[in-house]
């Protein structure tokens, strides 16, 4: 079987490696009779296997993942071009949806996108100029305050910053 052959090949080298890595060992041990190769085989396989099972994760670890940095809840919600005044966009903010609104007056505001009534996702209504929840007609004004319908609490605000043409949203600190 291929694997055994592979290991045999290593086994031939392994004991030598062990011994030459420790010249002391070389000085102290006697010549090895062929029966010893069983122990060498075990040690060899064990050491190789262990080292492989250590090195593999470590090597994979040091190669950075596709998104190279921790997203500290600092998300690019949209670009400036895609949000003219009186429009909005729902974006992913960590584990929750967020809502970035460009108000009719041209100001950028970001909110947590989950309605405080029964957790539906809210949306912006251009015709109202307000934030609306489709589930039970909840309405929030553009400061996030719940002004009509069942929502018991305002929508939490998020921080907005513009970097170049990117609109970056982060948690209020």
């Amino acid at each position: 079987m291929k694997t055994r052959k592979f290991f045999r090949h290593w086994v031939d080298v392994e004991p030598i490696l062990i011994r030459s890595a420790k010249p002391l060992e070389e000085m102290m041990s006697e010549d090895r009779p062929s029966r010893r190769s069983f122990v060498d085989w075990i040690l060899g396989a064990g050491i190789t296997g262990s080292l492989a099972s250590f090195l593999y994760p470590v090597l994979k670890f040091v190669i950075p993942p596709p998104v190279a940095e921790a997203i500290e809840l600092n998300v690019v919600a949209a670009t400036v071009e895609e949000l003219p005044p009186n429009t909005a966009k729902i974006f992913k903010f960590g584990r929750r949806p967020g809502l970035i609104v460009n108000t009719p007056a041209g100001e950028l505001r970001a909110f947590d996108g989950i309605c405080t009534h029964l957790n539906c996702t809210v949306q912006y209504r251009e015709d109202f100029g307000q934030i609306w929840c489709a589930c039970h007609n909840g309405l929030y004004d553009l400061s996030g305050k719940n002004i009509s319908g069942p929502p018991p609490r305002p929508l939490p605000r998020l921080n907005v910053a513009v970097r170049g043409n990117e609109i970056v949203v982060s948690r209020e600190s």
Partner: protein, 426 residues
């Protein structure tokens, strides 16, 4: 000097004072005198005037009751302050109270000076109400202005201590309407207040402090309070519950309920005792709403059953997906995408419940199908994450196997070194 002259001088002097200090605490003998009286009924109004909304606006006893507050009582027989010439009307009888208050409150020009936003139609509304009608017929135990607003020491409507503040209204109405003895001649039930307190609306108002939750006047009106006609009940509910109203209007129930002469929302949800809406009430089994009207041979029966089944199925799917995703999250797997999807799935469930009012399987399935797809997506992500966990455990097993191999190998090597092997047997 002779007393008439003395008196006139004093009076003139006082008058002069009132003229010069007009608007700055003019002399109010009514209060001064009544405050010191022994009779509780006569002294209370004067003491209550301190906190009174009218008094704060500078409206005093004479502005309502007439009389001359600048004059003092002379003796038991002669009270110039209350001479007819002063316009004194005294305390109005119960039948006269509405017009008494309406003297100002129904006068737009007058009220505008104090608060242009205050309505001035209360009196007109009152005459259309059950209370107003009964009052005109001669009843003396029905509500009029003072019953709800108080008279002396009246607080503004927006004052949380006022008897007409949202959290206080039910208690104020209940003062009569929850009193069996009082309501007996009218044949009206007296359990409304208690029922409302336990209802969803009552809980929202009293326990969660949501002032927008409906109380008596929200549905019945306040000045124009009369039992709404049958057809107007669901319109009132629909003011807040607009989406359910829309679905209902499109459903066959609307025509059916009208034909039967049954109230719309009330029939299934109750009126005062509105209980929390749960899925358990939906269906054809014992104790469930639909089964109270529809029987096995009807199409409606099948529809009701299907509605319930579909909702339960969606709930189960979402719950299963959530368990899987949470199981993965707990062991540190990245499942935020799945959590977002589950929020959307839940939204579909919420919307599905709305569509129940349309009693249409198609309308429901529009939502439940979407919800099901989302729940499945989330579940798949969770399963994949748990698969990763399996991978970890397998990796561990491999690693530990090799380490144990090393342990055994070292042990054997130690044996070899320390106990030379027996002579070779070849």
């Amino acid at each position: 000097m002779a007393w008439p002259i003395r008196f006139s001088l004093v009076a003139a002097g006082l008058l002069a004072l009132t003229v010069t200090v007009e608007g700055q605490n003019p002399r109010n003998n009514c209060i001064d005198c009544h405050r010191g009286l022994d009779d509780e009924e006569l002294s209370q109004p004067a003491r209550a005037a301190v906190d009174d909304v009218h008094a704060s606006a500078g409206i005093t006893c004479a502005d309502c009751h007439g009389g001359d507050p600048t004059l003092e009582i002379v003796d038991e027989d002669y009270d110039p302050a209350k001479e007819p010439s002063t316009g004194f009307v005294g305390a109005p009888g119960i039948r006269d109270i509405p017009t008494f208050c309406g003297k100002c409150h129904a006068d737009p020009a007058y009220m505008k000076r104090y608060n242009p936003n205050l309505p001035v139609d209360q009196l007109a509304q009152y005459w259309t109400s059950g209370h107003g009608k009964k009052l005109r017929e001669g009843a003396t135990d029905v509500a009029e202005c003072v019953s709800c607003h108080g008279s002396h020491g009246m607080l503004a409507v927006g004052d949380p201590r006022a008897p007409v503040y949202p959290t206080k209204v039910a208690g104020t109405c209940g003062g009569c309407h929850a009193d069996e003895e009082h309501m007996a001649p009218y044949g009206l039930p007296t359990d409304q207040m208690a029922l409302h307190r336990e209802s969803v609306h009552g809980r929202a108002l009293y326990q969660e402090g949501d002032l927008s939750a409906p109380t008596c006047n929200t549905c019945h009106g306040n000045h124009g309070a009369s039992p709404p006609g049958l057809s107007s009940v669901s319109l009132v509910c629909g003011n807040c519950h607009a989406i359910q109203r829309e679905f209902f209007d499109e459903s066959p129930h609307r025509a059916a309920f009208a034909d039967l002469g049954e109230p719309e929302c009330e029939t299934c949800h109750g009126n005062h005792e509105v209980a929390p809406v749960t899925d358990e009430r939906l269906g054809v089994a014992e104790g469930q709403i639909c089964g109270e009207c529809h029987f096995e041979d009807e199409e409606a029966y099948t529809i009701a059953k299907t509605l319930r089944q579909d909702i339960e199925e969606l709930k189960a799917r979402i719950a299963e997906a959530r368990t899987t995703v949470e199981g993965a999250a707990v062991v540190g797997m990245e499942v935020s995408e799945a959590e977002l999807i589950l929020i959307d799935a839940n939204q579909a469930l919420v919307k599905a419940r709305n569509t129940v009012h349309a009693v249409s399987v198609d309308a429901l399935r529009e939502q439940t199908d979407a919800g099901r797809t989302l729940a499945d997506q989330a579940r798949e992500i969770g399963v994949a994450a748990l698969g990763e966990l399996q991978f970890r455990q397998k990796g561990l097993a491999v690693s530990v196997f090799f380490i144990l191999l090393v342990v055994i190998g070292l042990y054997l090597r130690i044996q070899q070194i320390e106990r030379p092997p027996s002579p070779p047997h070849e």
